[in-house]
């Protein structure tokens, strides 16, 4: 039996093709995922991300505990109303999950992936020390409103909070009544994500829909995040790879040196010994679509494989991420596509920045 979000009926009303996504009945698309992709790049779209797991962290030791739990340092968040992206590692430096940590007044909120929910909760419970209280919030829904016109079209729904949301920097957030509104997203576009009570989600969705914000499904979400150079947990990273092998070195705070986060010793060792693999962006220089699992080679030697692949609607080309041997510096590689060797070029991420091909 699959779980349903509070927006299930809205998806059906909008003609969604529903799929089982890690145990959740979620919209893949509402007709055309390519059109939904373009709408988010050019105007405004919204995604139901209520399947994601929200965990509130309270207690007098919560901040110190998060500094040990996460590879990024929440002490960088000097005041409430700010958030940061981090990996959560095991002792070997393998990535258990990626998440966003929000600093509230006297407490914290984490948003983690739904596919890893049970493992994450068990890990956090096992690592708990001191005065730390973890509370999962299945009562909350979450909607991501994304695109260059997202804030303008959502203005009426935001109401009194509109100016505050407009004024937020990326990764800033405000709490307006029972709405928790953050300037975050997974598309590379402007916009916000709102966490709100589940029983208010349908009305929010309907108001946003009437304001010209188009429903967009998981299909468009995947191509948008890929173009934006953002990893997907379970594909581009998992327990078998460290952040240093996952294009996430920027999210690991090695300073201050005395902060003993879980995985630190393993990452330090890997840095000293040399990181064996890295995650890079690649673009197909022929007609076709890159797919996860396709092998990359250079000079006749297999050097790695694609962890994600898709057809980029913005660029009109096959794009992907590949984990390859770190000793390969060549820009021009080959991909084995159903028995044919086709040229791919390494591309600096992101592929697309604010609607434009980089």
């Amino acid at each position: 039996m699959t779980e349903r979000t509070p927006l299930y009926a809205e998806h059906l009303a909008a003609g969604a093709k529903m799929v089982d996504f890690h145990g959740w009945d979620m919209p893949l698309h509402y007709g055309s995922q390519v059109e939904e992709h373009h709408v988010v790049r050019k105007a405004a779209g919204m995604f139901d991300v209520s399947h994601m797991t929200v965990v509130d962290v309270d207690g007098s030791d919560a901040g110190d505990w998060l500094r040990r739990l996460l590879a990024n340092d929440v002490a960088k968040l000097e005041a409430s109303g700010r958030a940061l992206y981090s990996a959560m590692l095991n002792e070997d430096g393998g990535i258990l999950d990626d998440l966003i940590a929000y600093r509230r007044d006297g407490s914290w909120r984490l948003v983690v992936n739904s596919a890893t929910r049970e493992a994450d909760l068990a890990w956090m419970a096992a690592q708990r020390r001191g005065d730390v209280v973890l509370t999962e919030r299945p009562d909350l829904a979450m909607i991501a409103v994304q695109g260059p016109h997202a804030l303008a079209r959502a203005g009426k729904w935001l109401g009194d909070a509109a100016a505050a949301v407009q004024g937020l920097k990326p990764f800033g957030f405000v709490e307006a009544g029972d709405r928790f509104i953050a300037r975050t997203g997974y598309t590379g576009e402007d916009g916000f994500e709102v966490i709100l009570p589940g029983d208010e989600a349908a009305a929010a969705w309907q108001t946003l829909l009437a304001a010209g914000v188009a429903p967009a499904g998981l299909g468009a979400r995947d191509t948008l995040r890929l173009e934006a150079g953002l990893n997907l947990y379970g594909q581009d990273m998992d327990e078998t790879a460290t952040p240093l092998e996952s294009n996430l070195a920027w999210t690991v705070a090695f300073k201050p040196p005395e902060r003993d986060f879980i995985g630190r010793a393993a990452l330090t060792r890997q840095r000293e010994q040399g990181v064996p693999r890295r995650l890079v962006g690649v673009k197909l220089e022929a007609r076709g679509v890159l797919r996860r699992g396709q092998q990359l080679s250079y000079d006749g030697r297999v050097i790695g494989e694609l962890t994600s692949g898709a057809f980029s609607p913005t660029l009109g080309a096959g794009i992907g991420f590949a984990r390859i041997a770190a000793d390969v510096d060549a820009e021009q590689l080959q991909v084995d596509m159903r028995g044919k060797a086709l040229p791919v070029a390494r591309v600096k991420l992101p592929f697309v920045r604010r609607g434009e091909g980089a």
Partner: protein, 131 residues
């Protein structure tokens, strides 16, 4: 429920075939197939002039979801290909039985069409795959 026109013949691999008045056979993929694939983003058409056997590979459709081979429903010579699909592959989603056609064959033996599924038979195939 997908659209399965009664006047066409079908292969279990989701191609349709239409016998035209001039004796040629037009081939495309079904509405059920395009719906299952999702947005088509790329097609590889057969070469003009080649002879293909019924059931052999005649091209590729790549959608946002997967790459699928297209098989010739009947044997014959490829006498036309729908080059417009190269620039507008989404036509296959929009009009699978019309402007989304793939190629035309001069059939070797029109009787091969009788061996294909009729609309009812294909409907059962499509239905069984939808669950």
């Amino acid at each position: 429920m997908s659209n399965i026109p009664a006047e066409l013949r079908y292969a279990a691999t989701h191609e349709w075939a239409r016998l035209e008045e001039d004796g040629t056979v037009t081939v495309g993929i079904t509405d059920h197939a395009q719906d299952a694939l999702g947005d088509v983003v790329f097609v590889e058409l057969p070469e003009l002039g080649i002879d293909i056997q019924a059931g052999s590979e005649a091209g590729v459709v790549e959608s946002v979801k997967a790459a699928s081979d297209i098989y010739a429903p009947v044997s014959g010579t490829v006498i036309a290909i729908n080059e417009a699909l190269e620039e507008a592959p989404e036509t296959i989603n929009e009009d699978p039985y019309g402007s989304g056609w793939f190629f035309k064959l001069r059939p070797l033996d029109k009787a091969e069409l009788d061996e294909l599924l009729d609309a009812e038979g294909y409907g059962e195939v499509a239905e069984s795959e939808s669950h």
